[in-house]
């Protein structure tokens, strides 16, 4: 029995596409909010790959991981948005290159 109509390779390709898009966004965008959104996209790409694989093999492990990823993503967004608010308050901008204070 094959519950999956869409082939696994398609799912994985979509996941890779999403991941690459997220990665590119992460690397290119300077706005913190966009970077956070890119991160979300990347996380969802990974989650999609897990779900696809889970369906393909008929195993539930992948779906459990999905729940874990959702939780982590929610926690991450909570912290991340808090930070974004702080950055905005302190620097009056969301441009990461401007707020860079890590050197030295």
């Amino acid at each position: 029995m094959n519950p999956l109509i869409i082939p696994l390779s398609h799912v994985l390709m979509l996941a890779a596409l999403l991941f690459t898009a997220g990665l590119l966004g992460l690397l290119i965008r300077r706005n913190v909010i966009f970077i956070l959104m890119s991160l979300e996209v990347m996380l969802n790409a990974a989650a999609l790959a897990f779900v696809g694989a889970s369906a393909h093999w008929g195993q539930t492990d992948g779906q459990i991981i999905l729940l874990l990823i959702l939780t982590i993503a929610a926690a991450e967004v909570a912290v991340g948005l808090g930070l974004v608010l702080q950055i905005q308050r302190r620097f009056k901008t969301l441009d990461l290159d401007v707020v860079s204070r890590m050197r030295g």
């Binding site: 992460l26 690397l27 300077r30 990461l96 860079s100 890590m102 050197r103 030295g104």
Partner: protein, 610 residues
Amino acid sequence: MENLPLVPLIPFVSAALLIATAGRLPKMVVGLLGAGSIAVAGLLVLNIGIEFLRDPTPMSIHLWTWISINEFKPAFAFYLDGLALVMMSVITGVGFLIHLYSTEFMQDDASFSRYFAYMNLFVSAMLILVLADNLLLMFLGWEGVGICSYLLVGFWYQDPANGAAARKAFIVTRIGDTSMALGLFLLVAELGTLNILEVAEIAKERWEVGATIPTIACALILGGGLGKSAQLPLQTWLPDAMAGPTPCSALIHAATMVTAGVYLVARNHELFMMSPLVMSAIAIIGVATLLLAAFTALNQHDLKKILAYSTISQIGYMFLALGVGAYSAAIFHLMTHAFFKALLFLGAGAVIHCLHHEHDIFKMGGLRQKLPVVFWSFLIGSSALAALPFTSGWYSKDEILLATWAVPTLGPWLWAGGIAGAVLTAIYSFRLVFVVFWGEAKTIPDKQPGLRMSAPLVILCVFSIVGGLINIPLEQVFPSQTNAHATGPVAWITMTIAIVGVLVSYLLYLRQQINVEPILNKPALKKLRYFWYSGWAMDALYDRLLVRPYKLTASLLKTELIDRFYNLIVESSVASHRALSITQNGKLRTYAINLVVGIALLAAFLTGIV
């Protein structure tokens, strides 16, 4: 006998107390502790000696195993036999007198406590040296006396010259010690043990007499003895060592430490007998040293330097005796020498003490009436040093020279050298007496030696006269000598030669009947005298040969010839640090890119694409 370990322990504890209190004790207590500890050790030795003479079987006391590496287990163990007993008696007996003398001599010194700490530590180390039942423990004592000698030569360290003298003494003896350590390594490698009795036993089984390995081992160990006993070619440190306080010169650089080399060879005589070549070398070195030092002593005018060179010369006699196999004569001379040379040094100390630290004998004179006790000490000490008949030195030197004559082929030549040395010894020792105690007074003594200085002098006077009658219990230690005692003219010359020297000295320095000034002032002779005065220019030679090349190399290396290579490492490290720190620019996105590129490369590598 069970008290044996206490003998070195008591001075050690006293030294530790003196060091720990760091001069906070009153001088009275320091003196009591310093001299008293040696007195107690001396009484213990006396007790042990009486017991030993009643039952003269050698015994050894095993305290604990010091090191244990496979089969190599040197013990912390003491070995008592006649030889150790003689050495112990000299160290504690003469040592006590010198300590007693020091309590007055050093009375006004600010570092009174430090002095006694060093002296007690020295006595302890020296006792370990002579009691050790294995060569490693002996080496511990050997280095212990070396460090104490260094500390005491540089005792008045505020004067840089004294520090230099101390370093010289330390470095020159260190050359010998290194050679000795190599010799010990060789023994361990070849025989697997350092226990003195076992070494002798196994060496006899395993080696043939005159083979290469025992010769090398003996020569290396002898190197240590030459350094410690200031024999050619390592004799240059002893005259400089006179920078230390005079009583310490008496104890360390006359009576005990410098004779450690003699003890070393005597203790290991069975090993040394495996190598006739080294034995001949010892005899020849002895004669060469005694002549060289005697000529130098003849031209010195520093009171202590004369005595220092005469010490080198007398140890030369002991080495001569060792070389010809007359071990008990060597130890006998060691003992009588300890008496009369300690007496002379203490007498010299009294003269210097009473004459505002004057060292030049030509600025003294006429002290015969002014310092009677010192005069008699010097007269008796010099008679014994010159080996005038029936003094202690006469018995021992006579024994050495007659044993030398009995040696086939080389014997008469060595004997002639020894006789020439005896004449010179008599000349220079009585030159000293005549110049210092007769003639017109040039410096007036401002004080008299007190009781604590006079008493040791008187006691040592007695020993210097009758010391030759002491029968030392060495029959069991050394092989009995079968020397056909020389008779006729040889024996007569040997016995009376010293009188000739004294007469010459009398004519030259007291009567001044023979006016030698014009001859002595001839340019050629003047140069020769200066050559002798400088100790045969040995210091200059070593300076040219060793010190200057060493300093040159050091100054070359100082300009970073080798460091340049290491600096290259430093510079490349700094450069790569700069290069890498560019990547740490603090931009989050750069880090992300680096991360991605890194993972991509890793993935490519792992999947085998690259």
